[in-house]
C-alpha cells in the first residue's frame, strides 16, 4: 500500500475500497470485447489495478460497454445496469458508444449511449489498446476521489428523463421502473 495514501484511507475507507476493487461485469458487446481477455489475463493483468471480471451484474460495480450498441443490446444493457448494486461506474469503451462511430448512419444501432444510461468515463479509439483501459481506470480513480463518478446518483435523480428516452428507443418496456417516476415529476414541479 502506498504510504502517502494512508490519510485518505483513514478519512474515507469506503471510497478507497471501492476505488481499488473494481469488479467488471463481463458483458460482451460488439468488437471491443476482444480487447478484454488480454487485459484481464497474464499479458496486461488488470488485477494490478484492482479490476477483475465477475460473472453476474449483482456482484459487479464497473460496467464497460465495449462496442457498438444495437437496439436489442441496449435492452440488455439497461437491465444489467439496473441490477448492479450502488455504487456503480459505467465506462464506454471505443468510439461506437460515444457517437455511433463507424455505425453513425446504421439503421439499428443507437448512437449516443449517454442518452439512455449515465456514463462516467469514455475511452476513445477504435479499438482502444489495453493500455488505454488502464489509463481509463486510473482516470476513474481520480473521478471517484473527487466524487465526480456519480452516474448512479444522476440516474436516480433524472430517472424520468432516462426512462422516457429508453421508451422512445425501445418502445414499451416490459419491466417496471427502477425508481418511482411520479415522485420525480412532483419534485420538479415544486
Amino acid at each position: 500500500m502506498d504510504r502517502n495514501q494512508i490519510t485518505k484511507w483513514l478519512k474515507s475507507p469506503g471510497k478507497m475500497a471501492h476505488k481499488y476493487s473494481l469488479h467488471a461485469v463481463y458483458f460482451c458487446t460488439g468488437c471491443g470485447i476482444i480487447e478484454i481477455p488480454p487485459v484481464i489475463t497474464a499479458r496486461w493483468d488488470a488485477e494490478r489495478f484492482g479490476v477483475i471480471p465477475v460473472a453476474t451484474p449483482r456482484q459487479g460495480n464497473l460496467f464497460m460497454i465495449t462496442g457498438y450498441v444495437s437496439v436489442k443490446t441496449l435492452k440488455a444493457i439497461i437491465r444489467t445496469y439496473e441490477q448492479m448494486p450502488d455504487p456503480k461506474y459505467t465506462v464506454a469503451f471505443g468510439s461506437c458508444p460515444i457517437n455511433g462511430g463507424m455505425y453513425w448512419d446504421s439503421y439499428n444501432t443507437i448512437k449516443h449511449l449517454d442518452k439512455y444510461i449515465p456514463v462516467d468515463g469514455w475511452i476513445a479509439g477504435c479499438m482502444p489498446r489495453p493500455e488505454a483501459v488502464f489509463v481509463g481506470v486510473t482516470h476513474l480513480w481520480t473521478l471517484i476521489d473527487k466524487e465526480m463518478a456519480n452516474g448512479y446518483i444522476r440516474y436516480k435523480k433524472k430517472y424520468a428523463a432516462y426512462r422516457s428516452n429508453q421508451e422512445m428507443a425501445l418502445g414499451e418496456l416490459d419491466w417496471p421502473p427502477l425508481y418511482p417516476i411520479e415522485d420525480e415529476t412532483e419534485e420538479e414541479s415544486k
Binding site: V71, Y107, R154, A161
Partner: protein, 168 residues
C-alpha cells in the same frame, strides 16, 4: 459431373439457363415458380448442402434477385475425387413490388432462418413458411432496411436524432 448436370438441367426444365464460369462452379438461372422443383432435382443429384440464401436489390430493373448457394457435403467414400467438388448458385428474379416466392423448407429444412432474414430485411414474402416473424430486428420498418430505397440517414435522423440528451 458438371457437363452432364448442365445438359440434364437444361433438358429437364423449361427456361433454365446454365453457365459454368470456371471449374467447379455453376450458375443456374431459373424462373421463380420452378425454384422448388429445381432445388429438389439438384438435391437428388448430390448437392445436398444449402449453404446460404442471399438477395440482391436491382432497383433500376424493379427486381429482387434471390440467390441460393448449394454445395455438396464430403461423401465418406474414398471414390470421391477433389475435381468433383461443385458449387452451384441458383438465381431467380421476383418483381420488386409485392415480391413473393414459394418457400423451399420442404426441400431444405435449414433454409428456415435464411428465409426469415430475407423476409425482414428485404420484405420478400415466402409462401408456405410456418413463421415469418422477426429474426434479428426488434422493430417494424416502413421500408425494409436493406432495400436500396431505404434512406438510412433520414431514418437515423428521425429515430435516434429526435431523442433528446439528458441534461445534467
Amino acid at each position: 459431373m458438371i457437363s452432364s448436370l448442365q445438359e440434364n438441367l437444361e433438358a429437364t426444365f423449361k427456361g433454365v439457363k446454365v453457365t459454368a464460369p470456371e471449374d467447379g462452379r455453376m450458375s443456374v438461372s431459373v424462373p421463380s415458380d420452378s425454384i422448388p422443383v429445381v432445388l429438389r432435382y439438384l438435391k437428388g443429384n448430390g448437392l445436398d448442402h444449402m449453404a446460404l440464401l442471399s438477395c440482391v436489390d436491382w432497383i433500376e430493373d424493379g427486381k429482387f434477385e434471390l440467390v441460393y448457394f448449394l454445395t455438396c457435403y464430403m461423401p465418406n467414400n474414398t471414390d470421391y475425387a477433389a475435381d468433383q467438388k461443385l458449387h452451384v448458385l441458383v438465381r431467380t428474379q421476383v418483381p420488386r413490388d409485392n415480391p413473393g416466392i414459394e418457400s423451399v423448407i420442404g426441400v431444405f429444412e435449414n433454409i428456415e432462418p435464411y428465409e426469415r432474414e430475407i423476409h425482414e430485411l428485404y420484405g420478400v414474402h415466402f409462401k408456405g413458411h410456418p413463421r415469418l416473424t422477426h429474426l434479428l430486428l426488434e422493430r417494424d420498418y416502413e421500408v425494409p432496411p436493406f432495400r436500396k430505397d431505404f434512406d438510412t440517414r433520414q431514418y437515423v435522423e428521425e429515430t435516434f436524432g429526435s431523442i433528446p440528451p439528458v441534461d445534467e
